[in-house]
């Protein structure tokens, strides 16, 4: 899995491309932690190219969400693909990690 980020006007976009599994989950957590430490506490994780997520990946997203909120911000997810959406729904975590259709819409109403 490859990670990248780009600081936008009011948030930082984190792209996570590949499989978000037990191998990559700790790396996502570390990557987002560094982005937050760099001064961005409003994070949008772009999951457009995340074809797969397991419960470890879900746990990492929750950890990142908590880290963003502890820094006074928030974390939102966008462009969720069908398998990721299924995992979110089956674990009822779609209520905690609200999925936005696009990165631009994630913080558009704040």
């Amino acid at each position: 899995m490859e990670f990248s980020y780009e600081v936008k006007d009011s948030y930082a976009e984190v792209k996570a491309d590949g499989r978000l599994n037990m191998v990559s989950a700790p790396k996502l957590r570390e990557f987002v932690t560094d982005v937050i430490a760099g001064g961005s506490n409003r994070i949008v994780v772009n999951l457009e190219n995340t074809a797969f997520m397991d419960s470890s990946g879900l746990g990492a997203l929750i950890g990142c969400l908590k880290a963003a909120r502890q820094a006074g911000g928030d974390l939102r997810i966008a462009a969720v693909q069908p398998q990721v959406k299924m995992v979110l729904q089956l674990t009822s975590m779609d209520k905690v990690l609200t999925a936005y259709p696009s990165v631009e819409e994630a913080f558009s109403n704040d």
């Binding site: 746990g59 398998q83 089956l90």
Partner: protein
Amino acid sequence: MTDVLASRSFRGLATEDAINDVHNDMDSLWLDVPFVNDMDQMTFTTAVIESASNIVQHAEPAAADPVELGVDITVEPLLLQARVSAYNAKPPFGPMEPATPGEDAESGRGLALIQALVTTVTFERQDGTSTWVLSRTSSQD
């Protein structure tokens, strides 16, 4: 008599690398059986990877030999089945019943997720090997 249309088998040390190897095996398996619909492919792959990850994360060796992961998958006309095994592992490892973690918990959802994804999950213990048998009745398009 069973009618196995396609299969894949993996066996190797229960390490992180094994998870991506098994995932690659499954991706190639679906190419052999394109009639298995996307939902069945997606759910079954997720269940198998969850089970294999559970072994890599939690299995402890019973003796000096390291734990090995085995994954044997078969596709029959109306049945997807995987035998996900931990060789050389202590019995049992990890919780056997699904947990109900709070919404801010970062772990503990794997077993419940597996049960939601497949039709049946059974556990076998024989000759030092723990095996989870995952079965999903293939849905018809």
